[in-house]
């Protein structure tokens, strides 16, 4: 904004206290908004920073600082994150679930988005509607519904635990690639493929060699978003978890937070945080790199609008 450099007209609101003058000055800086924004940012991030710091606490407390140590990460031979077998299994389970979810949700979602964008048959609208519905439905409803599905109708087909969790997560996450890829499809239009086919490409070739490369930033962004969101997921994976070794980190953190958490829980949460952040940063960097070549404004704003 450039108007902050303009000086107020000298005749403006000379009367009254400095407060009224300040209030009436149309060129005043938005101090209150600024304060709210800074306050909000501090409020939203400092608790998390403190939680990360407390994973290095020397004592058992997660609320009183007792000095720095690596005890809860690697030091303690039984209770630290990398030695407690249940936390290690949970960590592996988190990454296993997220990885497989991405492998299912992103290809299916991408194909769905391409098909729905180009196909105007009668079933296309309801199919798209159902897909978007899965995006807004509260996770609680979907989680319990899937739990009832897997414990009743598909009782002997899909056991609770990893299989059910993957199916549930993929269902909940599939709308992300659909929305992200479709947004990109809208902006590139069908012309490139048509040109390719005019030049003799078969439909499959035009998809593989023209459309998919054009879509790659959106697909990579979907991979990042889907992975990060799967790591953070809690409601669905909790309802669909079976034996104790199928509980991922998020469920372990929840159970521990309700009983007697040690800073090892903070360490586990920090691992989740690092995993999602790394994924998002990598996704953003790739997105920016690819989007540049296609004349798309690959700035942070367009990435966050996804």
């Amino acid at each position: 904004m450039s108007d902050v450099v303009l000086s107020p007209p000298s005749t403006a609101a000379r009367s009254g206290s400095w407060l009224t003058r300040w209030r009436r000055n149309p060129w005043r800086k938005p101090r209150i908004l600024q304060a709210v924004t800074i306050g909000y940012l501090l409020w939203s991030l400092i608790p998390v920073v403190i939680a990360v710091i407390f994973s290095f606490n020397a004592g058992r407390s997660r609320s009183t600082w007792q000095g720095f140590s690596m005890r809860w990460w690697t030091g303690d031979p039984f209770d630290s994150l990398f030695h407690d077998p249940s936390l290690r299994t949970a960590m592996l389970q988190t990454f296993r679930l997220s990885f497989i979810t991405v492998l299912i949700a992103v290809p299916l979602g991408t194909a769905f988005a391409i098909g729905i964008d180009r196909w105007h048959g009668r079933p296309a609208r309801p199919a798209n509607f159902v897909m978007l519905l899965s995006f807004v439905v509260p996770e609680m409803i979907l989680g319990v519904s899937l739990f009832l599905l897997f414990t009743n109708m598909l009782k002997n087909l899909v056991p609770l635990g990893t299989p059910a969790q993957i199916l549930g997560l993929a269902t909940f996450q599939m709308s992300y690639p659909v929305i992200i890829v479709r947004a990109r499809l809208l902006s590139i239009g069908p012309e490139y493929e048509e040109a390719a086919m005019d030049l003799g490409a078969k439909p499959g070739q035009s998809i593989r060699r023209v459309l998919l490369p054009l879509l790659s930033p959106a697909i990579l962004a979907s991979v990042a978003v889907t992975f990060a969101d799967s790591v953070d997921d809690f409601v669905i994976v909790r309802y669909l978890s079976g034996p104790a070794n199928s509980e991922p980190l998020s469920v372990k953190i929840y159970s521990a937070a309700r009983s007697s958490p040690t800073p090892a829980v903070n360490a586990a949460a920090t691992v989740m945080l690092l995993a999602t952040m790394a994924m998002i940063i990598v996704g953003y960097l790739i997105y920016r790199r690819y989007a540049k070549g296609t004349g798309d404004a690959g700035d942070m704003a367009s990435f966050t609008q996804l």
């Binding site: 939203s44 608790p47 403190i50 105007h120 048959g121 897909m131 269902t171 309700r258 942070m300």
Partner: protein, 320 residues
């Protein structure tokens, strides 16, 4: 298909097909695009629509008398609405044990959504209009909570609000309280602030997107034509951002209505919400139909805002 009724030459028929199949006029067989949509659609039918049908079958089914497991009834003509009715009556027939959590849920969600809106609007407004050269870092920080697990963020507050936590330390150091406040002993305000904290990023991003798109010239025109800053805000900015406000309110209140973990980590049974009712009955012996009924009631509550949100986002996409 017209091709079977009116004899046409091969190229003509092809042209006809493509016209009805794709708007672009390229050369694809009829099954080509549906085969892209098919797998995702089948997936959604089996794992999104079928579960809802199972909810109906469980809610309107019975319970195994011996094992107390739900016995779902899949044929609608044999559905029994007895459990659903008893569950429903627990909301309004004395002793109405489910009524307080339901009312509490609406109160909490209402207050929390409003706080989200007020704080979120101010932050989004600042980020969109005044951030200047700090725009990118502010955006990054605004988006960051999105990618921090909800659970970790609530867990962080749970630690801070302990009797010996930093919140009490600060309050006592400032002399505002003489002994630690028991924030986690079932205080409504703690749960509401937890909800605000958890869901406010979902409010800020649509608001930011909308405020950022408002054409500066419109605001300057308003000022040129004699409106005061507050008038410009009330009569130009606010109406232009109204769709985003409503979308934001819907998108934060939908998950809040089903939330149970915020209360489980920050509150007690005194602050239990609708989600706690569901969570308490899921997987419990003999309570299958009741859990199904509770989910069903929640679905009825959220379906209107959900459809509204979908319609608005589609409209926004078409206008863009």
């Amino acid at each position: 298909m017209e091709a079977t009724t009116t004899p046409t030459t091969e190229p003509e028929r092809k042209a006809k097909h493509t016209k009805s199949d794709t708007a672009s006029g390229a050369w694809y067989p009829r099954w080509y695009w549906p085969s892209f949509t098919g797998p995702g659609t089948i997936w959604m039918i089996v794992l999104f629509l079928l579960p809802f049908y199972t909810v109906l079958a469980v809610a309107f089914g019975t319970v195994d008398p011996l094992f107390r497991t739900p016995l779902p009834v899949y044929q609608p003509w044999w559905w029994s609405f007895a459990t659903f009715q008893t569950t429903l009556q627990k909301f309004y027939v004395a002793p109405a044990v489910y009524q307080p959590p339901l009312i509490r849920t609406f109160e909490y969600v209402f207050v929390a959504s409003l706080i989200c809106l007020v704080i979120g609007y101010a932050v989004a407004y600042y980020a969109a209009r005044y951030a200047g050269k700090y725009r990118i870092p502010i955006l990054v920080l605004l988006v960051a909570p999105f990618w921090i697990s909800y659970l970790m963020r609530i867990y962080a507050w749970q630690s801070l609000l302990q009797p010996d936590g930093y919140v009490n330390d600060i309050l006592m150091a400032l002399g505002l309280v003489s002994q630690p406040v028991l924030w986690l002993s079932g205080k409504g305000i703690t749960v509401v602030l937890g909800l605000v904290y958890g869901y406010i990023p979902f409010m800020i991003l649509p608001l930011f997107g909308s405020l950022d798109r408002i054409n500066q010239n419109l605001l300057e025109a308003g000022r040129d034509l004699g409106a005061s800053p507050s008038q410009t805000f009330r009569r130009v900015t606010l109406p232009l951002s109204k769709p985003a406000i409503l979308a934001g309110l819907v998108i934060v209140s939908l998950p809040m209505l089903g939330d149970y973990y915020t209360n489980n980590l920050l509150g007690s049974t005194r602050t239990s919400m609708y989600g706690n009712l569901i969570d308490g009955s899921v997987g419990q012996a003999g309570q299958g139909p009741e859990a199904g009924s509770l989910v069903l009631i929640l679905m009825v509550i959220v379906i209107v805002p959900m459809l509204y949100y979908l319609r608005e986002t589609r409209r926004a996409a078409e206008n863009a």
